[in-house]
Amino acid sequence: MAKAEKKWLPRWFYQLASPRWCYQICGKLLPGFSLVTLVLLLGGTLWALLFAPADYQQGNSFRIIYLHVPSAILAQSCYMLMAVAGAIGLIWKMKVADMVAKSCAPIGASLAVLALLTGAIWGKPTWGSWWVWDARLTSMLILFFLYLGVMALNSAIESESTAAQSTAVLALVGLVNIPIIKYSVEWWNTLHQPATFKLTEKPAMPAEMWMPLLVMVIGFYTFFAVALMLRLRNEILRRERRSGWVKELLLVK
């Protein structure tokens, strides 16, 4: 059955399945992605700090949005990628997908931390306290816990393939739960503090405000790609250390 299925998938899917090919393609893509990331993040930051107008209610503290929102979006996307990669690894027994899933976890966790910290800092001038049980912040905190669980499980299991499969199951269970958690936390939030001022829910943001945000979001995505490829390359080398091509690669240097 597995063999019959194989013909239906495009060729690049199988190339991706080859760790060696993946290692090489990541090496080729890295410089370009790094350059784009540098330009986008630098340009976006300058735009956000210097040119974007201040918010009429929150003043200049509003500029934190250009870090908070992209990192929050990325933390969520990263979890999704982790779960999907894990599922691919489970179903097609694809080693590279397992490695992608494993590499995602620390990046996603660090971005969740950044979103939490910037949210907390932003809360100080906005609400007057460093931490508020705002629905978004609380969901992000729980997402961070989910990342911690995945990482803890992965490091607790010795056998690499078992660790990858177990983590994939956990990530998938988490993926099913994320919408439920978000919904329940929002309900809980409206129940306890109705109609408070929300951090990022602005009616209509003028273009001067959301354009730099868009740049930053795209910049964070490319940054994520760079960070992921760096980790993935390490992971490929580590897992494939006994294969001939890794030995050749290392002996040449």
Partner: protein
């Protein structure tokens, strides 16, 4: 010498319902013969509850306000505490291997095991909860909400906890890890559970909360045994 019966002639398959009942009976029998495991979660529940008046304040009005959350958090922790043993002994003595090699649907056996576990923890907690509610000065209007929400919510806790138990069954130090994996997933149940009790206390309708808890339970019953079965195969394989 008689020949082996051919595959077609082996026709002793028990039905799905009979299998479920056999597995349920076996697990109930096992926990009834090991009395300590039966009462440990209950004692834990009672002890944690006792800590709150001692640690916060014995003032009735204050405790009454705290009661829904405290009851639910304690029930959640008590369930979590007992979760690790769900597959542990089966894994240790090799019965889990035999279970995985059975041609019978693993889904059913897993569901039966979780049901037995729930009867021994969640159901027992639900039954003693009103007693403890009285100790925390929970108004009597809140009792139906408390019972019903626990009745609908604790099976979901057992189902989700079983996923954590299945993932960590091959590890020696599964106990702490299981809480790390499972606690974040318990949050929706906690929110809707305490919400139901609070609504009942203030005299608001609790139907909506119970419906949501029921929906979570339905989702759990359909998906959790699948995840547990997959996790068990992975854990035993490693």
């Amino acid at each position: 010498m008689d020949n082996l019966p051919t595959n077609q002639s082996i026709n002793r398959d028990v039905g799905v319902a009979a299998l479920f009942i056999a597995a349920l009976r076996r697990d109930l029998m096992l926990s009834l013969r090991r009395k300590s495991e039966l009462v440990n979660p209950l004692i834990f529940f009672l002890m944690v509850i006792t800590l709150f008046p001692l640690g916060v304040s014995p003032e009735p009005g204050f405790l009454a306000q705290l009661a829904p959350g405290v009851l639910w958090v304690s029930a959640l922790l008590a369930t979590l505490l007992s979760m690790d043993s769900l597959f542990r002994s089966d894994f240790d003595d090799g019965s889990l291997e035999q279970l995985l090699l059975s041609p019978q649907p693993l889904f059913i056996v897993v569901l039966a095991k979780i049901a037995a576990h729930w009867m021994m923890t969640g159901l027992a907690l639900t039954l003693v909860a009103p007693l403890i509610g009285v100790m925390l000065f929970l108004p009597s209007e809140g009792m139906p909400g408390l019972m019903l929400s626990l009745l609908l919510g604790t099976p979901t806790l057992s189902l989700v906890g079983a996923i954590g138990a299945a993932l960590t069954v091959g590890l020696r130090k599964g106990g702490v890890l299981i809480s790390l994996l499972v606690l974040p997933l318990y949050i929706p149940v906690l929110i809707f559970g305490t919400g139901a009790v609070q609504a009942a206390v203030t005299g608001l309708p609790i139907g909506g909360y119970l419906a949501l808890l029921g929906a979570l339970l339905a989702l759990g019953i359909t998906l959790a045994p699948l995840a547990v079965a997959a996790a068990l195969r992975i854990s035993v394989s490693g």
